[in-house]
């Protein structure tokens, strides 16, 4: 089997991509209006929602960047994973029930729709929509670039495609992504997410088993090698230190309930009572998939320190090198397909919410009503958004990475800081006001932007995103407390009372 390693990996990736295309065609027949396109007509079962939810959480960052982070900074990055139980719990306690109810009562198809209804404010709708568009551009560009880099790494290992360029790889991977997102909208996305999630779970468990067999003494031998080299790297706060670790715990944990691509999926389930099983299933899936993050990172750091393998050129090479050195070709094929799955499941979610913000929310905020023929324009804008993001990714790769880096700051932390207070607290506290919401969103955007643009480095590894998040929480509650309590519409009052 070993001589055919590259062919097996390529075969697994091709099978996966063909599956995505077929799913897109199948879902196209079920997509009849913009509600189907953006929120699957609120008719998905609990297994589909669970798998879609967790697979969208673990992007290419989790499968490529995660092991790289463990290689680079040790245990510090574990904090992004161990918070998952608290993060998912808060997301469901605070958001899942009411976002689904408001979506039903007001026929909402996007997160800005829900928040505009909650606060009776077009300003809140506009600000959240703009935040989403900015965040989506940065996220999508990095995801498309990651997809292309992985595809190039796989294809260039063969004789036929040895000279394949990055631009070609961007075109191939973006075409598949665009095809199933345009044809099948969110229905195609969530059903591909189901398979993507299953692949990620299987990959996580198999990789853990493989990783434990690399050293005779299993994981304990690997961690003791790292500990002997640098005690702090293997202790609870890792190389990055206590404040960076706790900052990640805060931003990734609480922030989960502020990620638009995740909370939007909480609007799609058929029954509210399904949430009682969606929560544990999503968490289980996430943990199984995240085993890959921890095990590859630890083993690769220990293997380099112990002289088993050469030092990595880049920390992000940890996952692909582990697969080529320590796994059999079949497993490598499954994991590479899982890697594409992780990247695509996040990309399709962002493409969907970005399109909704552009064709639905921003026009509604500015002119007071949605544009005509939303489904047609949704498909057009999905293509344009993906092409712009892909061009953006290539420009940043070949010319100037600054712009993507700045928009990259509008990633997880900015979504967390600007959306969590407004959504998660706002749906559970009738005293929250539109003024408080605007203050929270604007402060979160400004602080993240300023820290990124000015290159401000805070002491003890304190994250800029953590500062933005805490300021946003303080302003949201503080401003709401001092501004006049709003008179809620009768239906909103009823929803917030349930």
């Amino acid at each position: 089997m070993e001589p055919y390693r590259q062919e097996i990996i390529i075969g697994a990736v091709i099978i996966y991509m063909v599956f995505c295309v077929i799913t897109g065609l199948w879902a196209m027949r079920r997509t009849k209006n913009s509600s189907d396109f953006f929120i699957a007509g609120r008719g998905l079962g609990p297994i589909v929602v669970s798998l879609a939810l967790f697979s969208s959480t673990l992007s290419g960052f989790g499968f490529v960047g995660g092991p790289g982070l463990v290689y680079s900074i040790g245990v510090s990055s574990f904090w992004m994973i161990v918070i998952s139980s608290s993060g998912y719990a808060l997301g469901f306690f605070l958001v899942a029930k009411r976002i689904r109810m408001i979506a039903d009562v007001r026929n909402c198809i996007s997160l800005p729709d829900v928040l505009a209804a909650r606060y009776n404010s077009e300003a809140v709708r506009f600000l959240i929509a703009v935040t989403i568009v900015l965040g989506v551009m940065g996220y999508l560009a990095t995801q498309i670039l990651a997809m292309a880099v992985v595809l190039q790494a796989i294809l260039s290992g063969t004789v036929m495609f040895a000279e394949i360029g990055l631009v070609t790889c961007v075109v191939i991977s973006s075409t598949v992504l665009i095809f199933y997102c345009v044809t099948g909208g969110i229905i195609a996305s969530v059903y591909t997410d189901v398979v993507q999630g299953a692949i990620m779970m299987i990959a996580g468990v198999l990789i853990l088993l493989t990783a434990m067999s690399v050293f005779d003494g299993g994981m304990q031998e690997a961690t003791s090698i790292i500990l002997a080299d640098d005690g702090e790297a293997m202790m609870p706060f890792g190389a990055a230190g206590i404040m960076a670790s706790l900052g990640w715990f805060f931003v990734f944990g609480l922030g989960l309930a502020g990620q638009p691509h995740l909370v939007t999926k909480m609007m799609m389930n058929r029954n509210i009572s399904d949430n009682s099983v969606i929560l544990p299933m999503s968490l289980l899936g996430y943990v199984m998939a995240a085993l890959l993050w921890v095990s590859i990172g630890v083993i690769m750091r220990a293997a380099v320190i112990d002289g088993v393998i050469e030092p990595l050129a880049l920390p992000d090479d940890a996952a692909s090198l582990f697969l080529s050195i320590f796994t059999n070709p079949l497993l490598a094929g499954i994991v590479f397909a899982g890697l594409f799955a992780a990247i695509m499941s996040t990309s399709d979610a962002f493409l969907n919410i970005g399109t909704a913000a552009i064709i639905h929310d921003i026009p509604k905020a500015i002119q007071g009503h949605a544009i005509q023929n939303e489904l047609f324009w949704a498909r057009i804008v999905t293509v344009i958004l993906a092409i712009v993001a892909a061009s953006f990714a290539l420009y940043s790769h070949f010319q100037d990475a600054t712009l993507v880096a700045i928009l990259g700051a509008f990633g997880w932390a900015t979504f967390a800081a600007s959306i969590f207070p407004v959504l998660a607290i706002g749906l559970n506290w009738k005293g929250a006001t539109a003024m408080g919401a605007v203050a929270a969103i604007v402060s979160a955007l400004l602080i993240n932007f300023i820290i990124q643009l000015a290159g401000i480095v805070l002491p003890y590894g304190i994250l800029g995103g953590l500062v933005a998040f805490i300021v946003s929480l303080v302003l949201f509650i503080g401003v709401s407390l001092v501004t006049r309590k709003p008179k809620l519409d009768a239906d909103m009052e009823a929803v917030l009372n349930i």
Partner: protein, 177 residues
């Protein structure tokens, strides 16, 4: 209780903001957020762990303790006020104590390692790290259990469902008119 709870959340967040300011103003130590590994490119090392915690260890401990309190309070905010019974608060209090215990074991396990340089192992990791990996994750599992098992008692009761269906029916009736 809802109005008190939001004030508790607000006070907790304000205290955390204060601690962050105090940490920013504290004396700094070199390489507090790690340094490049002496031998391997792309790897960071932690260096002197005791020095890194010398000025801010207590503040960071308090910051995380408040964060654990914040998580419990926010979860409680997601439960309707009339269902926050004594039984509910006892359960949430127990969850908070368990999380504190895990945090205590992790932090002071790390401190013990810094003093002695030796550690035992649990399921593949040094004990303090095992508390982080397994304990922190398990710390919120009682919340997951409360949500899943107690869904019909605390989150969305039969009565809630009836109210909700009535609301939808009223909206449908109005739109028909």
């Amino acid at each position: 209780m809802r109005s008190i709870l939001i004030y508790v959340i607000f006070a907790t967040v304000l205290l955390m903001a204060g601690i962050l300011v105090a940490i920013c103003l504290a004396d700094t130590v070199p390489n507090a957020a790690g340094l490049a590994h002496a031998q391997f490119n792309g790897m960071q090392a932690g260096g002197d762990g005791a020095a890194r915690l010398e000025h801010i260890g207590g503040l960071a401990f308090a910051f995380q303790a408040l964060l654990l309190l914040l998580i419990i309070c926010l979860a409680a905010l997601g439960v309707a006020e009339e269902r926050r019974s004594t039984e509910f608060w006892a359960y949430m209090g127990g969850t908070l104590l368990f999380s504190f215990f895990v945090w205590w074991q992790m932090y002071f396990g790390h401190q013990a390692f810094l003093k002695t340089g030796v550690t035992s192992y649990f399921m593949g990791f040094p004990v303090a790290t095992a508390w982080q990996v397994y304990g922190t994750w398990l710390g919120a599992i009682p919340l997951i259990i409360l949500y899943s098992v107690g869904f019909r008692k605390f989150i969305f009761t039969e009565e809630d469902e009836q109210k909700y269906e009535k609301l939808l029916a009223n909206i449908a009736k109005k739109s028909e008119q």
